[in-house]
């Protein structure tokens, strides 16, 4: 797939000298879901705001669909939809009129049939004549998405779409994102919920302190960085590890019933065969075996820690 967004060495320093982006370069493929993962204050929102034209970059460039966001901003911005983190809506407006306004703002002629499709997709159609202040928080978020989609953008930025929403609504939001991807919309979302990135993203970028630490396919990232643990359940608890089994990779659980062995799936030798033969040589009897894959969360925490160190 060709790149639809091309961010090159993007920098942003605020007037107080704080550097929110320190030369971020990123290419986003058409049709993918990219999750930008990072702790609060990492620069996620600044990155999105700068691409969308809300914040002015102090260096670097952004191209959307081949159009520079500064010199050819009309063409570039026409392709972008933005769902902000905060619920910024006019409380006294009706759903339909505010969505219609958004479409007009992007220069698209009135097309209520297209808007109906969007509102139905977001389960907002029966609320189209409601005032925004009468809607629940979840519905308001949907209105923001509807506004962002009103001009039929090809790239959608979702800034923390599920911050502070309940579990059910979060799943709803994930389904909406999946539907949009099926319609061919490229989606970039920021989140600090790792399970969110894990659940819906194709690729994951990790951002911290204004720098993009890495961008990888979710599966590659997890496989590359992923550590596995083998848990060996013993029939009888032991007090301490036998001398022959002592190594950095192996620990005994607190109750003495389990041996926990950490290994790298991509290493030439995992050491499992040797471990198992050593275990039986030491006279221990196995009751059960279990392996566990480390989650994206562990990977993320490791990365951000490394960066801070």
């Amino acid at each position: 797939m060709p790149d639809i967004v091309e961010i090159t060495n993007l920098r942003k320093a605020y007037s107080d000298g704080f550097e929110a982006l320190k030369g971020v370069s990123l290419k986003i493929e058409e049709g993918e879901i990219l999750a930008l993962l990072g702790p609060n204050g990492a620069g996620k929102t600044t990155l999105i705001s700068t691409v969308c034209g809300i914040t002015m970059a102090t260096g670097g460039s952004v191209k959307v669909g081949g159009h520079d966001t500064l010199t050819d901003y009309r063409a570039a911005r026409s392709m972008i939809g933005l769902v902000p983190q905060e619920i910024n809506l006019e409380p006294f407006e009706k759903v339909m009129s505010t969505v219609r306004f958004s479409r007009g703002l992007f220069g698209k002629p009135k097309d209520d049939a297209a808007l109906e499709k969007i509102l139905r997709q977001l389960s907002l159609w029966d609320k189209k004549d409601s005032q925004i202040r009468a809607l629940s928080g979840g519905m308001k978020r949907r209105v923001l998405i509807a506004k962002a989609l009103a001009h039929e953008p090809r790239v959608l930025f979702l800034d923390e779409p599920t911050a502070g929403v309940d579990v059910e609504l979060r799943r709803d939001m994930w389904n909406i994102v999946a539907d949009l991807k099926a319609d061919g919309v490229t989606i970039i979302l920021t989140t600090h919920y790792i399970e969110e990135a894990e659940a819906i993203a194709d690729r994951i970028g990790v951002i911290a302190h204004g720098e993009l630490l890495l961008v990888e396919e979710k599966s590659t990232l997890m496989a590359r960085m992923g550590k596995k643990q083998l848990e060996v359940q013993l029939t009888k608890p032991i007090d301490a590890l036998p001398e022959s089994l002592r190594s950095d990779a192996l620990v005994l659980s607190a109750d003495g019933c389990k041996l926990i062995y950490t290994y790298d799936t991509h290493a030439e030798r995992t050491g499992i065969t040797k471990l198992l033969s050593d275990v039986s040589a030491a006279g221990l009897v196995l009751a059960d075996l279990e392996t566990k894959q480390s989650s994206l969360e562990d990977i993320f925490v490791d990365l951000v820690k490394e960066d801070a160190a």
Binding site: C52, I54, P84, G107
Partner: protein
């Protein structure tokens, strides 16, 4: 030019006006009627004619200007301040529109509302006093130009304002005194000589004088000077707005 965007902003703002049409119209009609009763009938009957016009009629152009100027400023400043306040301004900044289109939408709507109110006051005036309009085309031209230039000024205030107090500050502390001292209720020739000179530094004097000329054919300052003054003020406001959008001052970080 993204005309659809201009129209969208304009219609969105006008819809807000029409939602509150009763308040929007009753208040200026009521206050103007009060002015006519107090200044026109009660006090005006004891005042000699001013420049050959009865006092009640004489104050009509000034009254219209008073309302039109305050309405233009408050409509335009609120129009752009409100999206800033509730955060919806992000949409304007991320849309494929330039500052001219944003200004045309907001200022156009604010000026239209003020014009609407100006016309309503003029119609109300016909019920209280005898009015003849000597130069109707010039009258319309002055009215429209005033609406636009002060709506531009209001737009600047709306962008500058960091809170609702500041939004009220400039209209209250600067604009109201300037309009009252600008000859709304008197001819500046009625002032002592020193105050006449000071008045010439008040830009509103030129507007009211020119507008009054379009009604009665007599003016405090030459009509060309009035036109230059209003054109200059408009150009100044446009320049400031151009700079605001170029630098991102108070709207774009």
């Amino acid at each position: 030019m993204n005309w659809i965007a201009v129209k969208s902003i304009y219609m969105f703002e006008m819809a807000r006006f029409f939602r509150t049409i009763t308040q929007s119209l009753i208040s200026p009609v009521l206050s103007t009627s009060l002015y006519f009763v107090v200044f026109g009938a009660a006090i005006g009957s004891r005042i000699e004619q001013v420049e050959g016009v009865s006092y009640g009629s004489f104050i009509v152009p000034g009254l219209i200007m008073l309302s039109v100027i305050t309405q233009s400023i408050s409509n335009a400043s609120f129009g752009i301040y409100f999206p800033k306040f509730i955060g919806t301004v992000f949409e304007l900044l991320s849309a494929p529109i330039n500052f001219i289109e944003i200004v045309m939408g907001y200022v156009g709507a604010a000026a239209t509302k003020a014009l609407f109110i100006g016309v309503i006051i003029l119609i109300t005036a016909f019920f209280f006093v005898d009015i003849t309009i000597a130069h109707p085309i010039w009258m319309v031209a002055f009215l429209v130009l005033t609406c636009i230039s002060f709506a531009l000024f209001g737009f600047i205030i709306g962008i500058w304002a960091g809170n609702f107090e500041q939004l009220q500050l400039v209209p209250l502390l600067i604009v109201t005194p300037l309009v009252f001292l600008g000859g709304s209720f008197y001819s500046i020739t009625m002032l002592p000589p020193v105050w006449q000179i000071i008045s010439h530094f008040n830009p509103v004097v030129y507007l009211i004088s020119g507008f009054r000329w379009s009604f009665f054919g007599s003016a405090d300052v030459p009509i060309v000077t009035s036109l230059f003054a209003i054109a200059g003020f408009t150009a100044l406001c446009l320049g400031v707005i151009w700079w605001i959008f170029r630098s991102g001052w108070r709207i774009r970080q």
